[in-house]
Amino acid sequence: MRLARMASIVLGVSLMLLAGSARAEEVRAYRIGAIFSLTGSGALLGERMKTTVEMLVEEVNRNGGINGHPVKLIIYDAGSEVTKAVEAANRLITQDEVDIISGAGNMSGLALAIKPVAARYGVPMISNAGARSIVEPVEKSRWAFKSHLTDREVIGRAIDYWKSKGISRVALLSDTSGFGTSARDELKLQAGPSGIDVVAWEEFDMAATDLTPQLTRIRSANPEVILCWTVAPSGVLFMKNARQLGLQQILMHGFGYVVPKYMQMAGDAAEGAVLVSLRYPVGEQLPDSDPTKKVILQYNAQYKAKYGSEPDVYGAEAYDGLLMAFKAFEKANSFDKEKLREALEHLEFIGTNGVYQFSPEKHYGLTKGDAVVFEWHNGGWKLLMDATTR
């Protein structure tokens, strides 16, 4: 009798355990880790990235998750510091056991530091920073992906624009940071073969307080357009100083200067300034045939309804980065990191910033056709050149 009782207890307990583990299997969430710089010099960018991904995860869970799995989001602040970013990546992988990292510090330097950590543990990482070296060379970037353009595409798009306007004489005024010098190298590579004559290569320190000497030199080289490449406030001086010197040329900025406040600071000097960038800022002006328009408008409406304020281009970058993770889970239908990685490598989807198309040879998904050209006109952006969607 006693034996039978014992047996039934053991049976009961093991049944309960089995049921428990089965339930645990059923509710195991897809875990996504996000590292953003919410303090420090990159804080301006990180703020809306965080609110955007929180909104998206909330929404997907309300709709029953992905493949029946809820999504769990863990966010850490990297404080714009490399050491903190690496620490956060280690904690996400070893303690929180995340399946994917989407959001790698929102600064190129931080993403480059997180990359080897993700590679060591074999966890897919999606960055939304600019630098090309985050995903290239691709043999050394097995686990790294990017939801953003690189300066190669943006410079290429600028050349497209110049050609469409019959412009062949160009001056470059870039800052001496990594962002500026990288664009300089890129223009050096692409200008010659495209028949563009770069008549002046000027540089300035990010903290420069007067750019008239450089612009005076540019004036004597007589270009048709002046392209400035920086994210620093001195980009405002570029526009002011140029007009002060009486330069009538088209003034251009790269994708680091899509900041309406900077344009307002430059006042009249910014009128007609031309920018090459991702298409999010001009989302509402895109033709209806552009498949990203719907995504952008939906993002804007959803964000405004939830937070009562406007999202921004950085939030849009994080939006696409998180969407990549969602799609990878959906496609792989697995927790296996190698399967997730393979899914990312063959992903195709429409985000706010373009029509993404990844391949084992290309870990960043966008092409130069995903960049658009717009100008600052009457206190707002005005679309000049559409995206040429594949």
Binding site: D205, P213, R217
Partner: protein, 294 residues
């Protein structure tokens, strides 16, 4: 030729701001022998406060600028009282290191108060540039150069002619003897900080309409001002201002003649050469050295 003039204008404009910052270094050094590394932060504070006074209170521009200079002076006095006043070991090296801490603290607080986005001010008399010999000059540049010269001369006269100025130089020459003569040495340190903060704030206020300012603007301006003061001679107000002008011209001409990537390198190279060849600076000091010789 117009190019040459254009570089000259740029150099004079930028150099005046460096020069005025250098004058602030001189003032504190002439009284306390301390190199005040927070001087650049006073320049930043002047600009930031003026921008805030102007945009938040709707005061007329001149009043907002005056208020900014006064407020920065108050910060200078408070900063000096809170640090130097409580220093247990008021030796030159300790106090110098305290000023580095002060600079970091002011910068940090500025970031919390004003955020990271840069601020600007309207120009004092319009944007339409003057055309001189084919070169273009912003009216604001004239304000910058003119105001800087005036302030610099006023500081020099104050140091040379006024009783307080003489007492300040005496304190620098020999603290002990000065104290025995009934000079309130401790209070003079505060006075020197007050004037240095005011001079720095003026530099910030006049330059912000052209250059913008942000919480981290003071670091580099401070460094350039320090270089200028070393070039010209730390104890000599005219020398320090001259050092600023030389530095500004050097930067403008290296950028203008094709070395725009080497602007800062050129400035610091000159500094190193000067320190090796003429460590006392271009002009002789007015503080310690002169009084000792009298």
């Amino acid at each position: 030729m117009p190019e040459f003039l254009q570089f000259l204008f740029s150099g004079l404009m930028v150099g005046s701001v460096y020069g005025l910052t250098a004058v602030g270094f001189c003032l504190v050094y002439s009284t306390t022998e301390v190199v005040n590394f927070a001087q650049g932060e006073f320049v930043m504070l002047g600009g930031m406060m003026a921008a805030s006074w102007f945009s938040l209170t709707g005061l007329p521009l001149p009043l907002a600028l005056g208020a900014a200079v006064l407020a920065t002076t108050a910060v200078g006095v408070a900063a000096e009282a809170l640090t130097f006043g409580f220093s247990r070991k008021p030796q030159v090296l300790n106090l110098t290191i305290i000023t580095i801490g002060l600079a970091i603290a002011i910068k940090g607080v500025a970031m919390m108060v004003w955020g990271k986005f840069p601020k600007d001010l309207p120009t004092f008399s319009g944007e339409a540039p003057l055309v001189i010999g084919g070169a273009r000059l912003a009216p604001q540049a004239l304000w910058i150069v003119g105001t800087s010269l005036l302030v610099m001369v006023a500081v020099r006269l104050f140091m040379d002619r006024s009783l307080t100025g003489t007492a300040m130089r005496a304190a620098a020459a020999d603290k002990g003897t000065a104290a025995l003569m009934g000079i309130p040495v401790r209070g003079l340190s505060t006075v020197s900080f007050a004037i240095a903060a005011a001079v720095g704030a003026v530099a910030g206020v006049i330059s912000t309409p052209l250059t913008l300012t942000s919480y981290d603007h003071g670091t580099l301006i401070g460094l350039k001002g320090f270089c200028a003061a070393i070039i010209g001679g730390l104890g000599n107000v005219y020398g320090a201002f001259l050092g600023g002008i030389i530095l500004g011209l050097l930067e403008a001409f290296t950028a203008g003649l094709g070395g725009s990537g080497y602007q800062d390198a050129a400035a610091f190279l000159i500094l190193i050469i000067l320190l090796l060849v003429r460590p006392q600076g271009l002009l002789r000091g007015t503080g310690r050295e002169r009084i000792v010789k009298v």
